[in-house]
């Protein structure tokens, strides 16, 4: 029972598992968000111009998408106005073989990567859950359940590394999403596996109505990196050049086998959470105005102008390009999408089960009966009435007053 008899036990060196295995200092983020615009830093004007065109297009994209909600052409739109710098930097920084894992707010990052705006908007338009081919575009579907896409990014990056590919995954999440268990599990797996993945947290101050102070007591979200043994970086998310650089460094580090990085981009959501949200319920317009003065477009334009790379002609060209994109969106989104109701049964499994075959036949029969009926009577019953829901359903989208996503 007692081990008194064991001589000298205590004088042995404590076992090796004891000591912290690495110095935390290099993992800690800076005390201030890193920024480049407006500093003396020597910046690549080509890159700045590309970022500028991107954020201008991005702002226009957000405006157009919001307008489409008013016309009933989108079920809902979570705008990234104010956050265009981080969104565009994320979309532009990746190499071709890299993957992007956007959250539901990050349509813009996908568009900046070059995806078709209309395809990216499928989820929010409501014609299908995801409208682009993730393998072809190397953009995962927009993730609605918060933080759940982060383990996917880790798994994909891990698989790529196992295969010997030099693919990196960039995974995006909001400040609110960092509270989810999946955030924790993803970062831990990534660090243990040294997976080539970069986590980009856009801290825009709010999770719907909940301010950061109710979300975390951490010194910063970037400080969470320490607990996983990966470096944390804090960056001015409205500074497109700084965000692009920090992400780029993290991605190259990952590509070279250096493992994951957590990047916190500090920014602000200028609009309400979605078009259905009323932000005046939880924040002051002074706060919003304060941030308007730190607009990502203005920051870039000031810099470009100082470099002599922005004249009215360039501004006009960039604006025209953005208008073109918006006009295209408008035209194509105003056309009703072609829908095939029995497609509902096509992709549930690789092969339809016998049960789904039956159900598909049932729906097909109903649709045929409807058509017959419609042929008979001018103003015949439609699928919507069949479903016993209020009319209006056939516009594709009905949203009761305060419904938010």
């Amino acid at each position: 029972m007692t081990v008194l008899e064991q001589p000298g036990a205590y004088h042995l060196a404590p076992p090796p598992a004891w000591r912290p295995r690495l110095d935390p200092a290099p993992l800690l983020p800076d005390g201030e968000p890193y920024h480049l615009l407006g500093t003396e830093a020597d910046l690549d004007p080509e890159l700045l111009s590309r970022l500028h065109a991107g954020v201008v297009r991005g702002r226009r994209f957000n405006e157009q998408a919001t307008a489409l909600t008013k016309q009933g052409r989108l079920a809902v739109y979570p705008s990234s106005t104010g956050q265009e710098a981080a969104e565009v930097a994320a979309g532009l920084v990746l190499a071709e073989q890299d993957w992007l894992f956007p959250s539901y707010r990050d349509t813009l990052a996908a568009v900046a990567r070059g995806l078709d705006p209309v395809e990216v908007l499928s989820l929010l338009r409501g014609d299908w859950h995801s409208g682009y081919d993730p393998r072809a575009t190397r953009v995962a579907p927009l993730s609605t359940p918060l933080a759940t896409q982060l383990p996917h990014a880790v798994g994909l990056a891990h698989a790529a590394r196992l295969r010997g590919d030099d693919t990196v995954a960039l995974a995006m999440v909001g400040d609110g999403g960092t509270s989810e268990g999946d955030f924790h599990e993803a970062l831990n797996f990534a660090a243990v596996w040294q997976s080539p993945v970069v986590f980009l947290v856009q801290n825009n101050g709010f999770a719907i109505s909940v301010p950061l102070a109710k979300q975390t007591a951490a010194p910063s979200l970037a400080h969470k990196a320490v607990g996983y043994g990966m470096p944390g970086r804090l960056v001015d998310g409205n500074d497109a050049a700084a965000t692009h650089q920090v992400l780029g460094e993290a991605i190259e580090r990952a590509r070279e086998g250096g493992g994951p990085t957590l990047v916190e981009a500090v920014t602000y959501r200028m609009e309400a959470h979605t078009n259905a949200d009323d932000a005046s319920r939880y924040r002051s317009s002074e706060e919003v105005e304060h941030w308007r003065a730190h607009d990502p477009i203005a920051l870039l334009e000031r810099e470009l102008r100082a470099l002599g790379r922005l004249d009215e002609h360039t501004v006009e060209a960039v604006r025209a390009d953005a208008e073109d994109m918006a006009a295209g969106m408008r035209d194509r989104m105003n056309a009703d999408p072609v829908l095939c109701p029995t497609e509902l049964f096509e992709h549930v499994y690789d092969q339809r089960t016998p049960q789904l075959r039956e159900q598909s036949a049932l729906l097909r029969a109903e649709l045929a009966a409807d058509e017959e009926l419609a042929a008979e009577t001018a103003a015949g019953g439609t699928g919507a009435e069949r479903a016993g829901v209020p009319s209006g359903a056939d516009e594709g989208v009905r949203r009761p007053g305060s419904e938010t996503r």
Binding site: T144, E180, A207, I208, K214, E385, R386, A387, S402, E403
Partner: protein, 361 residues
């Protein structure tokens, strides 16, 4: 929805009534529960300052303070897990899950702890927790915003599962859920949130307790058994069925657990035919259990197999296609038509449908 409202308004109280939405009645129920019992605490995402994305908690943080109506961090397992701890200390938490599918991260806490803590401790740690889950579709919600998840909860012993279809039940059942000594999954049909009925907040009518179904419409030809968002659909179907000469009875289950075998069996024995209607996917959904129970209890009274009209066995569709998925009046009537009425006895009927090689193409 008007049919149901009429019914709920017809139960008879005298106080002044005015049109009230289901969301408002739920809000009133929370307010009254908080006034009556200082141990009632509300927790969830955006339920404080914002009043919830459906405004069900509107004004409660202002009235009762943030400690009693708390905006939590964004983590559903954390919300339910800390509610369990609060209940261990004698509080009576009411949790809001923002949408059906966002309750899934809390599944382990729900199934492994909330549902079992009382049993685990021989009654020493009851779990008087109410989990409010806005559920179901028909609101144009994008993916993950329209799930009908009640089958998961029904399959979990230790949970009660309750769902109102009328304004009066919304108030009455939520009050009952909050005072219950067991965890209650309180499923709020999203598309009925803005349905109105005349109702008095000063003198809310009494409703039957949890565990009791209610016959919403008397009929003699067949029984429609349903709950939540499908109750108005069944009421409309019963109305439409009159044209076909069918006099349908509609049973609103209200409580899936405990299940009211008596009311259901009494009705089906009387009518001899039954259709179960719900939005949730059919396979492995609530309807199988319900149909099986009815058959076990009413076999010799049945003129036809109990049929089911349900959502398809697919992930909930995108908004533009949801109308094809939701069980509607026509689909209910089609099923009623397949209940082997005397006139059809020569036809092949349902028993030849299905089968592994059978079906569509």
């Amino acid at each position: 929805m008007s049919t149901v409202e009429t019914i709920s308004a017809a139960d008879g109280t005298t106080a002044a009534r005015k049109p009230v939405t289901m969301a408002q009645a739920l809000n009133q129920a929370l307010r009254d529960a908080m006034l009556e019992d200082p141990t009632v605490h509300l927790m969830g995402e955006d339920i404080g300052t914002l009043g919830g994305v459906f405004r069900v908690t509107d004004g409660l943080a202002a009235e009762f303070g943030e400690d009693r109506c708390t905006d939590t961090p964004l983590a559903e397992a954390g919300i339910l897990g800390s509610a369990i701890g609060m209940a261990m200390y004698g509080l009576r938490p009411v949790v809001e899950m923002q949408f059906d599918a966002f309750a899934y991260p809390s599944f382990e806490q729900l199934v492994s702890h909330a549902a079992r803590m009382r049993n685990r401790t021989r009654g020493a740690l009851p779990m008087p927790i109410t989990v409010r889950v806005p559920y179901g579709g028909g609101i144009g919600g994008v993916e993950h915003h329209s799930d009908s998840s009640e089958a998961y909860y029904m399959a979990t012993p230790g949970l009660q599962v309750v769902t109102p279809a009328t304004v009066a039940d919304a108030y009455g059942l939520l009050r009952a859920a909050i005072v219950a000594e067991d965890p209650v999954i309180f499923m709020e049909p999203k598309r009925l949130y803005w349905g109105k009925a005349d109702w008095s907040s000063a003198e809310p009518e009494r409703v039957p307790p949890i565990g009791r179904a209610v016959v919403r419409r008397r009929g003699a030809s067949a029984t429609l058994i349903t709950y939540g968002p499908s109750v108005p659909v069944c009421m409309a179907a019963a109305e439409a069925a009159r044209a076909e000469g069918w006099d349908l009875e509609v049973v609103d289950l209200r409580s899936l657990v405990p299940f009211d075998d008596v009311t259901v069996a009494e009705s089906v024995r009387r009518t001899g035919r039954a259709v179960v209607v719900h939005e949730s996917a059919g396979f492995g959904g609530p309807g199988g259990e319900i149909a099986a129970r009815i058959t076990e209890r009413c076999f010799h009274h049945l003129e036809a197999p109990v049929l089911r009209v349900t959502g398809f066995d697919i992930p909930y569709p995108p908004p533009m296609l949801e109308s094809h998925h939701l069980p509607g009046v026509e689909r209910v009537l089609d099923a009623v038509g397949r209940l082997q009425w005397e006139s059809d006895w020569t036809a092949s009927g349902v028993s030849s449908a299905g089968g592994f090689e059978g079906g569509g193409e």
